[in-house]
Amino acid sequence: MSHLPVIRRGLMAAGTALALALGGPTGALAQTPPGVLIVGQIAEPKALDPAAVTAVNDFRILMNLYDGLVRYKDGTLEVEPALATGWEISEDGTVYTFTLRKGVTFHDGSPFNAQAVKFNFDRMLDESHPFHDTGPFPLAFFFSAVDSVEAVDDLTVRFTLNAPYAPFLSNLAYPTGLIVSPAAVEQHGADFGRNPSGTGPFTFAEWRSNEAVVVEANAGYWDGAPELQAVVFRPITDANTRTAEMLAGGIDLMVEVPPVALSEFQGDQYEVHEQAGPHVWFLILNAKEGPFADKRLRQAANYAVNKTALVDEVLEGTAEVAAGPTPPAFAWAYNEDLEPYPYDPDKARALIAEAGAEGAELTFYVTEGGSGMLDPVAMGTAIQADLEAVGFDVKIETYEWNTFLGEVNPGLEGKADMAEMAWMTNDPDTLPFLALRTEAWPDKGGFNSGYYSNPKVDELLEAARVATDQAERARLYKEMQTIVQEDAPWVFVANWKQNAVTSDKVENFTLQPSFFLLLDDVVKN
């Protein structure tokens, strides 16, 4: 269980030593059939309805069953055509007209057309739609800017937005924007999530609860039939058991390898894949009250924390040091000129002395686990030690993840000076817009739990959201990153690299910066 990581690590290490002493694998009990890829997933999926789910774990299956109007270009977070062959954006940025791909059918045989696209978005957004009750649709707000969807003709669909909204295209490439078969929704109603039908490279075959989801190759896929015959997604929640399955040959591909287990896969039999993603791990600092209301002390905290040590020692190289609020995975929007705050305890002490805050007491919220939080207790403890070394007096309070969110999201005022947090987003707009603007303070419904406020940053983010030209957006985001880094509302700590291991039978597999799992080109010998 996750609350005993240290003991478990020790046990795993002891086990490894014993395993090596025994002389490595012998028999061949768990061989998997050729042409069938077995994937070790981290949990049982909730549903295979893209509009109804929120977890990356579920997205990994969905991206292979469905297509969106657009998708991310291989190896990037830039949008390219998929079910839409092209699009036009009106001058004012509020009307998007898509031309759809001809001759595509859903797995159930029904045609893909403009009516189907309209059905998908109306189902999510229109409470009076006859199939709105097949929800709830927790991420429908990704498309809250959509006023109406219109089927102009069979292969033309028009989205009208209530205001210009630059992340719209990238949200369409997100799993929430994947297109499901209206005929299948009409047939199965609320059970659609267990009887999915899309247009993707694989068709749904079988879901055995708590055992496996099986998908088979779609021979008629519009973008070329996949090489594999079938893929089996197995939920294996315990990371050590997942590692053992990989070592025993029970699975061919394993995602989210625990850092401590990576050394098991150094041999020729395995290939370790890594890919930095749109993830940032940071500390929210309470800029409203207490020591961190003083910018010098926020900067001091950034100098005091030894991020390189955290990334290399605690996270065992599974992350990179973050320089600012935007992850480098957003290549076009990332400011290459930013250098991370160097580890400089002397400078931190000087800033603290200048502010007259020696021995200032800090309350630090740490979580036990949670989505994207990596190894939060070990990281929190290391950060505490770094901050105490420069003269802060840090008191840690630890909470279980859901409780933690309940404490942090409403704001840190009156409770804490700093809190751990991590975000993974699909557009450079999302995180700063929701967590750095003055209008995003918790009392206004945002996630700016540290009450950072800088009118210039607000202005840049508002302008970037309505700009439709990517170069202009990039310029605005880069300027925002420079200001935010200087203001230091957060301690910028790490950008997580997603990892996966494949066996030597698997070829052509690459991880995507989106953290999705795309298997249509993978070969298994």
């Binding site: 269980m1 009990l29 929640t237 058991t241 994207g372 969110l405 419904g445």
Partner: protein, 315 residues
């Protein structure tokens, strides 16, 4: 006898009602709600409120409790938020898997435990007694989840004698031999501690009986020593062993949680842990009530069995 059973069954009703109140209150009181768990980073107050409304969680606690209880009385346990399927389907399927695992472990630990205890008692302070006592102490002292992990490393990863995890093969026939190969390691890992406890207590129960007069009489009238031990002494000792078995059944059932996580056994324990972390309220409540009802029923069965063996207990 029927009256006694009926009385015990009736007395279970307030217990079960109490359990529904407690599990409902605990799920209502622990911080964090399903909407926040589902939305994760995107849990703005606005999104949370809308999702809570969609999930039917915007009613008062009292309303929610009685709606839940009323539905349950009609056999409707609701729908799991996290798995999107009826709670009862999930619980029954998972409980089935747990029964297979815990049932096997229980049979194993009862047979092995009593056997070890009897042999120990019959050879008090002999080498067999010493050897068994040593092994039993070792067994009691090893945490079952650690033992499970070590078994996986040796028997599944290195020797490849057994599959690492799961209940059924991903490919191939779902027959008894497939089940046994998946079941062996988790059932053994789960049985070890309970075997030790049962062996210790069986030993002392047997020793106590062996000192009594009727045993000396049996020996005096020439009954073979094997007959004295197994027929006369064990039957008398069973009266004090059976309640221990009842308690151990509870331990095996709760110990199954760790084993199910280590071996990815699709049982009810792993289901509850996942459900609690996801704040899947209805699944936690339904699962706990169902397991509690089974446990209460099992205890009644133990009491009845005991009263059959020893008529003095019946009141």
């Amino acid at each position: 006898m029927t009256g006694y059973i009926l009385k015990r069954l009736l007395s279970a009703i307030p217990v079960l009602l109490g359990i529904t109140v407690i599990v409902f209150l605990i799920m209502a009181l622990i911080p964090g709600d399903p909407a926040t768990a589902i939305l994760g980073s995107y849990a703005t107050p606005e999104n949370v409120e809308k999702l809570n409304r969609d999930l039917g969680l915007d009613k008062t606690l009292v309303q929610q409790y009685f709606i839940w209880l009323g539905n349950m009385a009609q056999g409707d346990f609701g729908t799991s938020f996290a798995l999107n399927r009826p709670v009862l389907d999930e619980v029954l399927e998972r409980f089935n898997a747990t029964l297979v695992l815990a049932g096997t472990a229980f049979v194993l630990c009862s047979l092995l435990g009593i056997l070890a205890g009897v042999i120990s008692a019959a050879n008090q302070y002999g080498w067999a007694d010493r050897a068994i006592t040593f092994v039993v102490l070792l067994g009691i002292s090893i945490p079952s989840f650690f033992l499970g992990m070590m078994m996986i490393l040796f028997f599944a990863v290195n020797l490849r004698l057994f599959p690492v995890s799961g209940m059924w093969p991903i490919y191939g026939a779902r027959d008894l031999s497939a089940l046994i190969s998946h079941l062996t390691m988790p059932a053994l890992a789960l049985a070890v501690v309970a075997t030790g406890v049962i062996a210790r207590l069986s030993r002392s129960a047997m020793l106590e009986v062996l000192r009594q007069d009727f045993i000396r009489t049996a020996r005096a009238k020439g009954v073979h020593e094997r007959g004295v031990i197994w027929r006369h002494a064990l039957k008398a000792a069973m009266v004090s062993i059976i309640p221990v078995l009842g308690i151990q059944a509870g331990f095996v059932l709760s110990g199954a949680v760790y084993i199910e996580i280590v071996f990815q056994w699709p049982g009810v324990g792993r289901m509850l842990v996942d459900a609690i972390l996801k704040r899947d309220i209805l699944l936690v409540q339904g699962g706990v009530v169902f397991v509690a009802a089974c446990y209460v029923l099992f205890n009644i069965m133990v009491d009845v069995a005991q009263s059959l063996l020893d008529p003095r207990i019946k009141t």
